[in-house]
């Protein structure tokens, strides 16, 4: 074996380098230098791990995120907003008095108005063709909206959006007839800036999360995740996820999910409660049937021959302060005549609306009809704050039902 001479100053320099990396101060024997070097981490060590599979890991470490998925996890990313995606909101507001249309483009990634232009004409039905509005998105992409305002034709405002040379969508705003126009409106154009790779996991972080952990063993990078999605076949798919902390698994679920298939994060109860506009009628409790797929079919059978009301609501009020939208995924629904509604109401003697202020108890509602079966619907709660009662109300004279897959309060 060959032996080489090494100067003391060189060994001292190596020792100093080890001490700098390990933050130790003691002298290191030459024979121990190799071990010390091996123990030095080459980068920031993570304080969590992401594991995919259909069964829970047998020996999880603290902060193990188990994603119940059949798809291989290729990478992960923490983000509050959709990674690699972006959307623009194109709005057109027509002023009849000044015969002009104000066109605005908002970048949803930061809610900034990136272009705004008023197109002015001379007559009530002004005609404009090929107006080109240029914009630059927050991430530096260059785009154009080529649009026109059309005479006596709906949609009255049409346009094509191009970003970085690629046509990403068309705009079509304005409905009605010549005598009754709804001139104004807005439309969202979604596009992908770069493709997320298949299998990538997006750990959604939020200010309203129930979870937190330090992502690094050294230094503090506190993260607040509240849900998880995986990029599968070109779209982000929500995946059931659990987090291992303090020796126990906890369902990793967005606290905004008021009902999420079979994963119950909040208690619901069916109540024989009268509706405001049927206050003279009988109250009957609806009956929830939990389907094998985790959805709940809420059936309502009024007393024979009379209109009755009842409600299936959260057992406790929910604070809507940080939320702007209630999103409900509906399964099969059947509403024969009067009323089934997703309602934000007061937990008073009566629930519902359609009455005077003194007795009216609803803040907002969305009517659920048979035609809305198997769709996702939304209710605007941006104007409502504080703890409120949320439920599915029934006010019917015939048997009816609504099926709920999930109900989510959303902040974006």
């Amino acid at each position: 074996m060959a032996e080489y001479l090494i100067q003391d100053t060189t060994l001292t320099a190596i020792g100093d380098a080890i001490r700098t990396k390990t933050e130790k101060t003691n002298l290191i024997p030459v024979s121990g230098m190799a071990d010390e070097i091996l123990q030095i981490s080459s980068g920031a060590e993570l304080n969590f791990e992401v594991v995919g599979g259909t069964t829970k890991p047998a020996n999880p470490i603290e902060n193990t995120i188990w994603v119940n998925t059949e798809n291989e996890i290729t990478s992960w990313i923490f983000s509050a907003t959709e990674p690699y995606g972006n959307s623009l909101v194109i709005s057109a507001n027509h002023s009849i008095n000044s015969s002009s249309t104000k066109v605005s483009i908002v970048d949803n990634s930061n809610n900034a108005i990136i272009a705004s232009q008023t197109v002015t004409g001379t007559t009530y039905y002004s005609v404009f063709t090929d107006v080109v509005i240029s914009f630059t998105t927050a991430d530096g992409s260059k785009g154009t909206l080529t649009c026109s305002v059309r005479q006596n034709t709906t949609p009255f405002f049409v346009g094509t959006v191009v970003v970085d040379g690629v046509a990403v969508g068309t705009v079509s705003i304005g409905t009605g007839t010549n005598s009754s126009y709804a001139w104004n409106g807005a439309q969202t154009i979604s596009y992908t800036k770069n493709s997320a790779e298949d299998g990538m996991v997006w750990i959604v972080t939020s200010a309203v999360s129930d979870f937190e952990f330090n992502a690094l063993k050294k230094n503090a990078v506190q993260v607040y995740p509240n849900s998880l999605k995986q990029y599968v076949s070109g779209e982000w798919v929500e995946k059931p996820t659990e987090l291992y902390q303090n020796g126990a698994w906890t369902q990793f679920i967005d606290k905004g999910y008021l009902y999420y298939y079979s994963q119950q994060s909040y208690e619901w109860e069916a109540v024989a409660q009268k509706c405001v506009n049927a206050s003279n009628n009988a109250a009957v409790a609806p009956v929830p049937y939990y389907n094998s797929d985790g959805s709940v079919k809420i059936s309502f059978t009024p007393l024979s021959g009379s209109r009755c009301s009842g409600i299936f609501w959260l057992a406790e009020d929910f604070d809507l302060t940080n939320y702007s939208t209630l999103e409900i995924s509906l399964g099969e629904c059947y509403k024969p005549s009067v009323q089934i509604m997703l309602v934000v109401t007061k937990r008073n003697t009566y629930w519902g609306t359609d009455s005077t202020y003194s007795s009216g108890t609803a803040y907002a509602y969305l009517n659920i009809t048979t035609a809305l079966s198997n769709t996702i619907q939304t209710l605007d709660v941006s104007g409502i704050s504080g703890e409120k009662c949320i439920g599915i109300g029934f006010n019917e004279g015939s048997a009816c039902y609504a099926t709920m897959n999930y109900l989510k309060a959303k902040s974006d």
């Binding site: 126009y181 939208t325 509602y365 969305l366 619907q377 209710l379 941006s382």
Partner: protein
């Protein structure tokens, strides 16, 4: 009866005849301020919020902070109560 504009915002009156009339007893007894803080989307129609979320009708929701509307409504009802009290006093009714 109330009215909605092209953004489905509610109005208590229709001075220029440009709003659409909605024959629905949704805001009986409510002040103009309260009514005009609400949005009503009729069944079969939809509206897209500035953040891109689309809402289908029939939907009723406040577009102004509800707490502001509630405060205005309570003030309106106090004024109405005062007016009624004064009217009864003029008529000689003890209140």
């Amino acid at each position: 009866m109330f009215y909605i504009d092209s953004e489905y915002k509610c109005h208590a009156t229709n001075p220029n005849g440009e709003y659409r009339a909605i024959d629905k007893e949704l805001f009986n007894g409510m002040s103009d301020t309260f009514i005009e803080g609400y949005r009503y989307i009729p069944e079969g129609e939809s509206w897209t919020r500035s953040d891109g979320v689309t809402f289908k009708g029939e939907m009723v929701a406040p577009w102004k902070p509800y707490n502001e509307l509630d405060t205005a409504q309570r003030e309106y009802e106090r004024e109405k109560l005062t007016e009624c009290t004064e009217a009864l006093q003029v008529l000689g009714v003890e209140v």
